[in-house]
Symmetry: C2
Subunit: 258 residues, 2 copies
């Protein structure tokens, strides 16, 4: 599998893979014409996205790394509202703070936003945009359910499966493993638990042969059961390209032969 913070994929490819996964349709060619593969800015870990990046546009496409939408309480407690992963569009929003949790790379997404406003045949693009917004909202709802009604164990399981799926659909995971280069403290602040408890649950997942974490690499040993026990519902459609990808990973020789 490819490194999350350093991979060779083109920004437009990332976006296309994600949007195709969300809409279930194909989006060939449209994104490639938008000059998203231009200047790539790198942001160090633990910096605030808009202030750390002098004169950045209001819309960025995250190319690599992990970003967290975070809120700080006066007494120092922190809640990470959501994780943002490669292939997602980040928008400036007065209220919230986007913090890089690893080093990250972004490209200007203004061309994309402008294309959405075009009267021209950007219909497919607009549909995908709306679908992506819906998917984001659905993930926020998942996060509410996670925090409100799932146990710590279930929460971790749910997060792992969700993150795997999100990364898989942009080509950043194998069918059963992915990279999550964040400290347990981050997972704690995302799932509303303490660092110590994250450590314990992580071990419980390993003991029960459900998932294994070795220095930022996560292996889902029993994805089926993880979904079940956390009532995980997939947010993604099966796309032609995803299906091809899945096959090529599962049976590399068969895919090569065809």
């Amino acid at each position: 599998m490819i490194s999350l913070t350093q991979h060779p994929m083109a920004p437009s490819d990332l976006l296309r893979q994600r949007w195709e996964a969300i809409t279930g349709g194909e989006l060939d060619g449209v994104l490639e014409r938008l000059s998203l593969n231009g200047v790539r800015r790198t942001v160090p870990a633990n910096s605030e996205l808009w202030s750390g990046l002098g004169g950045a546009p209001d819309s960025l496409l995250l190319v690599s790394g992990v970003v967290g939408e975070t809120r700080l309480l006066v007494d120092g407690r922190r809640q990470i509202l959501s994780l943002r992963l490669p292939g997602e569009v980040l928008q400036r929003d007065g209220q919230e703070t986007l913090t890089t949790l690893t080093s990250a790379a972004v490209v200007d997404a203004i061309p994309l936003i402008r294309a959405l406003g075009d009267r021209a045949e950007m219909q497919a693009l607009r549909r995908a945009w709306v679908a992506a917004a819906r998917a984001d909202q659905a993930m926020m709802r998942d996060q509410i359910v996670r925090l409100g009604r799932l146990s710590a164990f279930e929460r971790m399981a749910h997060l792992l499966v969700e993150t795997h799926e999100r990364l898989f659909h942009v080509g950043l995971a194998t069918p059963s493993a992915f990279q999550l280069p964040v400290r347990q403290e981050v997972v704690a602040d995302l799932l509303g638990m303490s660092v110590v408890h994250v450590s314990r649950v992580t071990q419980q997942l390993r003991r029960e042969r459900l998932a294994q974490t070795r220095s930022s690499y996560v292996t889902l040993m029993d994805r089926e059961r993880l979904c079940e026990l956390s009532s995980y519902a997939s947010r993604f459609a099966v796309t032609p390209s995803a299906a091809r990808l899945a096959v090529s990973i599962a049976r590399p020789q068969a895919a090569r032969a065809s």
Copy 2:
């Protein structure tokens, strides 16, 4: 104060008050021309909004009553993602279920949605719509923080202040009291706690002279402290009309005199 489930306000007035509170601008006349004050459908308590209402349009304006966006887990656990209050627009969305938590009344909001698409001078309307969507999202984020990083006590405080503010801005609360005609079970499922604990926290709030609940009427005895202890941040601007309203409630004779 006026009853939440039965009040004499016109749908367009409700919507205008809410939107003005959110945007901070005035929206005079525009909404009144949209024929929102037409057929009013009543929905009994505890029914699913779209299926319980034969052939309803995809967008409804909630006029009275309380609706909950709910998710059920297989084992019977329930999470209420958000409360929807009068003056808010409800949209059909495959994923989620909207359940009436009290009897409710709605009107068709399709004219409104159509007006948004108009090329004409609906600019102010569109701005308000976008601002309202932003506000909804902000409330979802608040809910995440509540569930993830606030204690049960803080959660209740936060919810009470938020609900008060939302109702106040549509004229359904006095400066310190409002009606919340839902069982404690609903509050429990909204805040991710057990019914028993809701009862206990309710009493603690009363003991500490912060808030008082008597058969679905909530009185905020110390709004200041409630905000502080729950790190509540207001989502509303102070509008001219809200200021007028506040004055007229605080000093009825002065307002009458002017």
